[in-house]
Structures are given as C-alpha cells and as structure tokens.
C-alpha cells in the first residue's frame, strides 16, 4: 500500500508532462497503435468518438432486439450481471420489514413534489441562490448544451471531469462539448469503460453492464494511453486490477481539473441541497477538487424537504446496487466557504419533462429515482440489453419515459411501449411504485390512437373485426364452431406452419389446433343429454 502511495506521491505530474511521456512511450509501440492515435488527432477529437449513428436513428425495438439476440457474449454478460444484482437486491430488501411502507412513502413523496413542481422549483432556486449558487434554466437539450459550454469557456479551460449523469447523456452533452474543443472525461468506472470503448451506455446504473472483464482489459490496454496515463502492459483481467488501473488513469485528471460536471440524484427544495449517491469516490473527487462545479439536473429531481431524504436514501441503494448503503453520499448546499468549489452552478433542464407531466397518467414515470431495478429484473432487458431501446433510458422505465420525453413521434418511440411481455416483475420491484405495466398499456393506447388518427391499417381493421366478434356470445360461438371445423381437414393436434403473421409464432413453436368441439357446444350437448 505504501509503495503504491509513494508512487502516486512522486507522480503528481503536470498535464503537459504526462501527455508528452504518454506520446513518447507510444512511439515505441506497434504501428497500429500509432495509427489509432494519429487518426484520433487528425480528426481533431479530444475524447474517444462514440458510435456514429444518432440514437434516434436506431432501429425499432423488435429489429434491434433481433440483432442483439444473436450476440451470445452479450447475452451471457447480461444474464450474469442481471441475475447477480437481482439476488443482491432481493436479500437486502428482505432485511427491511417496513419496505412496502417505504415504497408507498417514496411514491407519495415524489407525487407531492410533482403535483406542485412549480412552487418547489421556485423554492429550490431561491435557496440555491441564497447559498451562493448560480441557477440556470434550460428548456431543451440545445439550450442546456449552450449554457454549460459558455460556463466552461468563461473559465478558459478545455477539459472537464464528469460524474456519471443520465441527464447529460440524454442531452448528449459530451459530444456538444467535444464539438467546441472541450474534452469531458467520464470518471465513473463503467462510464470510463464505455467512453474508452467508443461505446454507448446500456444501463443507467452500470453503463458497461454489457462488457465482461476481458473486454474491459482490452479496452483499457488499447485506449488509455491515447488519452492520458497508460494501462500497465501486464494488466490482469481481475476486476480489482482493472479498478486500480482506472484509479491511476483518472488521478491526474482529477488533480488538474478546474471544472467538474455532475448531475444530481436529488435536489432538496427547502434547503437548496443537491445530493449525489455513488460508490467509487469519483463523485467526491469531482464535487470537491475543482474550482468550479456545474450540476445539470432534470427538473423532476426536486424533492420537497430535507426530511424526505431519509426515504430515498433507504430506497435507492437497496434497489440499485443491492447494498444497504452505497459507499459515499455527498450533499452540498451552494458554496461552502473554504471547502470545495467556490463557484457553483446548477442547470435545471426541462427537455420534455413538462410534456410528461402534462399526461396525468404518464407523469408517474417522473417519480423515477433511476435505480435500474426494473431493468435488472426485466426478462426482456436481460436478453437484449440497453442498446436495443435506442435511448439512454432502457428497460421498462425507458419504454415509458423515452417515448414521452421525445413525444411518441418516431417509429422507434412507438415500438418501445411494446417492448414488454407485461409480466409485471418491474412494478413489483420499483421503489417508488411506478405502475409500469399500466403505463405501458397507457402508452400503447396513445400509440394506437395516434396511428388511428392518420390511417386505418391492417392491425386496426383486424382488431375492430375481432372486437365486433367478441361483442356477442353468439358470434364468438360461431367462430369457435368454424375453428373446430378446421379439424376436419387437419386432424393432428399441432401444426408447424402458420401463414402470414402466424409465421412469427411457428418460427419457434408449434401451434395447437382448436378443439373439434368447443366448450360452448360441449356444454350445450351436456345440458341436452341431462334432460
């Protein structure tokens, strides 16, 4: 331990020095490495480039899912991760006898906040300003990007360190900053893996849940040296070694950063306190070391009072990482003289949240405290992972939140409410009791109504016809009788091929044939026989 300590002690480098030494070492590496670095520089990028296609142009869910299902490695990684965290959650939740009461309290508290969102936000703003913070409002992603870019540029810096934040993913802040020549370094281990892997997060809690240790090792070895402290050549795939490697890589970035970006898990209206719940200490680094802190947060993160923290601080760790309490929780109220950043900004972002709020049923999705329990328990998510959802918010909550935030316009967004078998496992684990299956149905209805308004499609016609049949026992009885007649031609119990849409069923399973005699008819015969 002391040795490791000493080495960091002596290696407090200036950024120029570290970059130069990194480059020098690189010249001795293989040509391909140099090429990679070279290409990174010629493109003028400061940070690793994410995948080129915008999220919104992702495939509709069923097609994306089809592709991802082919990836056996991904499925194995996801299965392992989701099952591990599920059982952890289950055991720590079982420790609290008043868990159900807590969930109700959480739901009621968030509803209270949402139902008077305007007055709580006013209160939050006033308390932040009174404690020395500067408050900014952004109605959409572009505005939030502009505000943050201007704040960073005003300090004349070209790099910032970042705490994992969903809203900054949502507003695609990193790429906006990159375009302005500002490097935003992700410091959460999983976000670092994603960033260095030229990848996209696939989970809101563990963004690199789709990666296993070997892949992480490979990414670190390949990429770290291009952007700072290189990974040691003899890097092992042991998570402990990989974490230590990330520690060394990021330490110099933390120490030289002048500006940090964060989100907020909660914003307390009656005190103006922001809260970050984390594990690694990268959050504390960002919240404490730099001179300037810019916190970007969605307007729905507000909670009414400081007392309410006791509810969410019990619900969140147990639901998310499956711990009784996460290693570190930081709370700060504006500027603390002599301690931490002396310039504190808070950017409050709408970006579609008021649209969600306008739907009296759909707004329950704004209760979400981003614990990821719903995705970890979801049998659909477990098999395809977050990338299938074409949104930074995947899983059941993503399926109800994303289409609402974005306005339910694209084919992708219209496919998301259908990305669930309605098994209901998500609603059971949600710490703030979001009725996810009900919301999925509600959004399906909105999708159907929206499509109906434009044209009458095949599905609409079919549903209307079947609906008409189901309006009368006699009509339905007739259909049952017709179905039974098919047995005159097809005598076997199962068929292996169905035409048209039925192909989708028989692609994997055989279809049971209707009974020769429906129950309805059998009942009538029985009554007749009895007489």
């Amino acid at each position: 331990m002391t040795d490791a300590r000493r080495s960091t002690q002596t290696s407090v480098r200036s950024p120029q020095h570290s970059e130069r030494s990194g480059q020098m070492r690189d010249t001795h590496r293989s040509a391909s490495t140099c090429d990679a670095q070279h290409s990174a520089q010629t493109r003028g990028r400061r940070t690793p480039a994410p995948p080129p296609d915008p999220l919104l142009e992702s495939l509709p869910f069923p097609l994306a899912a089809r592709q991802l299902l082919q990836n056996q490695q991904l499925r194995a990684n996801l299965r392992h991760a989701t099952h591990t965290i599920r059982s952890k959650r289950k055991s720590v939740v079982a420790e609290l006898p008043h868990w159900e009461e807590l969930r109700s309290a959480g739901a009621a508290m968030k509803d209270r906040a949402l139902c008077s969102l305007d007055s709580y936000l006013e209160q939050l703003e006033a308390n932040l300003i009174q404690n020395g913070a500067q408050v900014h409002w952004a109605s959409d992603a572009a505005e939030a990007q502009r505000i943050v870019t201007c704040l960073i540029k005003a300090h004349g810096v070209d790099e910032v360190v970042k705490i994992k934040s969903m809203v900054t993913q949502e507003i695609e802040l990193n790429e906006a900053l990159e375009a302005e020549g500002i490097a935003a370094w992700e410091t959460d281990l999983a976000e670092l893996i994603v960033q260095l892997g030229h990848d996209r997060p696939s989970n809101i809690l563990v963004p690199a849940i789709h990666r296993n240790r070997d892949e992480v090792r490979e990414i670190f070895l390949r990429e770290m040296k291009l952007y700072g402290q290189a990974a040691p050549d003899d890097l092992d795939n042991d998570p402990e070694d990989l974490a230590a490697c990330a520690r060394n890589h990021l330490r110099e970035k933390f120490l030289r950063a002048k500006v940090a970006l964060s989100g907020a898990n909660f914003a307390v209206a009656d005190t103006g306190t922001l809260v970050i719940v984390e594990s690694e200490g990268n959050g504390r680094m960002c919240l404490t070391l730099p001179d300037v802190l810019i916190s970007i947060t969605g307007i729905e993160k507000v909670i009414p009072t400081v007392e309410d923290l006791e509810i969410v601080l019990q619900l969140l760790p147990r639901s998310s990482t499956g711990e009784r309490m996460n290693p570190y929780t930081s709370m700060w109220t504006g500027v603390t003289p002599g301690d931490g950043p002396q310039e504190v900004h808070v950017v409050l972002v709408d970006n579609g949240r008021t649209r969600v709020l306008a739907d009296p049923i759909g707004r329950a999705a704004l209760r979400c405290i981003r614990c990821a329990a719903c995705m970890h328990i979801c049998p659909v998510y477990e098999r395809v992972g977050g990338h299938a959802y074409g949104s930074v918010y995947p899983g059941p909550i993503g399926s109800v939140l994303t289409p609402q935030l974005r306005g339910l316009k694209s084919v992708l967004d219209k496919s998301l409410p259908y990305a669930s078998s309605l098994c209901g496992a998500c609603a059971e684990v949600c710490p703030v009791k979001i009725p996810l299956p009900d919301l999925l149905l509600h959004l399906r209805r909105r999708v159907v109504d929206e499509v109906k308004r434009r044209h009458v499609g095949l599905e609409q016609t079919a549903m209307r016809c079947v609906g008409w049949v189901m309006g009368s026992g006699r009509r339905f009885g007739l259909v049952g009788r017709l179905a039974g007649w098919t047995r005159i031609f097809i005598r076997r119990d199962f068929i292996t091929h169905l035409p048209w849409l039925g192909k989708r069923w028989t692609a994997r399973r055989d279809m049971r044939m209707p009974a020769r005699v429906s129950f309805r008819r059998a009942w009538r015969r029985r009554a007749r026989d009895k007489k």
């Binding site: 209805r445 109504d449 055989d510």
Partner: protein
C-alpha cells in the same frame, strides 16, 4: 362435499379455453359440481378483452366488457380457470367501463368484479377447501404464470391445492418466476424475444424431469407446450383444474396432449424446410 349451502356459480370459460382447451372448462365444471356447486355457463360471455387492451386498443375491448358484464351480472359467483383472464376482468374492466362513459356499465362491472374469482381462489377462499379429493400419480412442475402471480395475486393457493392431491409429486422448476414470453401480442410483435424466452422456459421444464407441466393459465401452456412439442420434449402440459378434477376411480386420464407421437406424421405433406428448425432463438 362440503359446502352446505349450494353456491350458484357462473363459469367464466375464457375465449382461449372455450375454443382451444374445452377439457379445462369441463374439468372445472365437474370439480365444482363435485364440491356441491351449481354451475352455469352464461352463453353471452366471450373474452376478457386483454388481446385488445394489452395491445392498446381500449375502445375495441369495450364490447367484450359489455358481454362479460351482461353475462355474469345475475350470478352469485363468477369463477374462471385462468389467472390472467380473471385478473384482466378485475383490474382492467372497471377502467374500460369508465372509458366507455356508460355509468350503468360501470356499476354492473363493479358488481361483477366483486364476485369474480380465479378457480383456486374460489376453492380456497370461498369454499374453504384445499383437499378436493383428487388423485394424480405423477411428477409435475408448476409454472406460476405472471398474471396469476402479479395481477390476480393467487399467492400460494395453487401450490396448497396441489400439495393435497394424492399421488402428486411437485418438483422444483428452475426460474419458475420467470415469464414464458407469451405476453399476448408480444409473441408476434417481438417474435425473436418471445422465442428466446420460451426457449429458456422449455429448457428449464425439460431439465426438471417432471412428467407434467402445470399452470393455471392455458395461454402460457399454449406457448410453452408449443415449444416443448417443437423440441420433441416429452413433458405433457396440463391445467391445474384437470388435475384437481381427476380421481382414483376414474379410468380415463385427463385430456393431455402427447407431445411425442409421430413427429413425421405431424409435419407430413408439409414442407419441413422452415417449420421446425426455422428462426427462433438459439
């Protein structure tokens, strides 16, 4: 057998049971009659409307709600052998009735909801019977369907009933709380995912070594049974009602599908190319 006052029960057959699994309905009738109930089948009933509601077609479901409401209104109890359909009737029909704007319908639905039970609920809670005098000398695994667990909230009632069945051995089923991937129109809207889910379920069922797979929802059986049949896995599928109905004195086995017989025959005179091995999940 026990119920001293004869209960007048309307059978909520459900559409899928009516057309595809009439034996389940008949077993329910015989069981209830054996336990001293008077069973009726109001013919106006059709289906719970989940196919519409769960696909987003709320308005199209209202006709089914009306059919159910008018069919079941006159009876003392409504009993259905399906957790999913009973759950839908109780949870979704009031909402749909409200949507229709028809206050009379809302009142009828409310009255119907209050007296509607899934079969195992009716046996355990209303009749107060766990031992229905059944005999079923087989090993079984139980798939607790999602809706019976989380919408109808049957709890451990099906297991309690099974434990009292003579000769029955209940084996553990791996990942028994996992969805089978049916999900109504989910199975055609997201066919690849549904296939992946049912494949895993079929694998767990095959691994269990049981003779029978039991559920309280035939929709799940249609899905899992179809996959078992496709894979040539010799586990039979059966609804709990049929197990509870079968007794030692009876000669005839309850209706079950025999997954194995003559696979060649099944696909006979059909192109085998894309049927059995096609698509689906690994």
């Amino acid at each position: 057998m026990t119920a001293n006052i004869q209960k007048k029960v309307a059978l909520f057959a459900t559409c899928i049971n009516d057309v595809m699994f009439p034996d389940t309905c008949m077993a329910t009738v015989r069981l209830l009659e054996r336990l001293g109930c008077r069973v009726c089948f109001p013919p106006q009933q059709t289906c719970c409307g989940q196919m519409f509601t769960n696909t987003g077609y709320f308005n199209e479901a209202i006709a089914s709600v009306r059919a159910c409401a008018s069919a079941f209104e006159p009876y003392e109890y409504v009993v259905g052998p399906s957790g999913s359909c009973v759950g839908s009737l109780r949870e979704q029909h009031p909402l749909l009735a409200e949507l229709s704007g028809d206050t009379a319908l809302q009142q009828t639905v409310k009255a119907v909801v209050d007296k509607t039970y899934e079969l195992t609920e009716f046996l355990v809670d209303v009749l107060g019977i766990e031992d229905v005098g059944a005999y079923f000398p087989h090993t079984v695994v139980f798939h607790q369907s999602c809706h019976s667990l989380r919408v109808a909230r049957l709890g451990d009632r099906p297991r309690r009933l099974m434990e009292k069945v003579r000769g029955l051995t209940l084996l553990p089923l791996e990942a028994d709380d996992q969805c089978c991937g049916f999900g109504g129109t989910f199975s055609v809207k997201n066919p690849d995912l549904s296939a992946a889910m049912v494949s895993e379920k079929a694998r767990c069922v095959a691994k269990s070594g049981a003779e029978y797979l039991v559920t309280v929802d035939n929709a799940c059986l249609m899905n899992i049974g179809g996959a078992l049949h496709r894979d040539g896995i010799a586990v039979r599928t059966i609804h709990l009602a049929e197990i509870l109905c079968s007794q030692e004195c009876e000669r005839d086995e309850p209706h079950v599908c025999h997954p194995q017989p003559n696979r060649a025959l099944l696909t006979h005179n059909k192109g085998e190319k894309d049927g059995r091995v096609g698509g689906g999940a690994p």
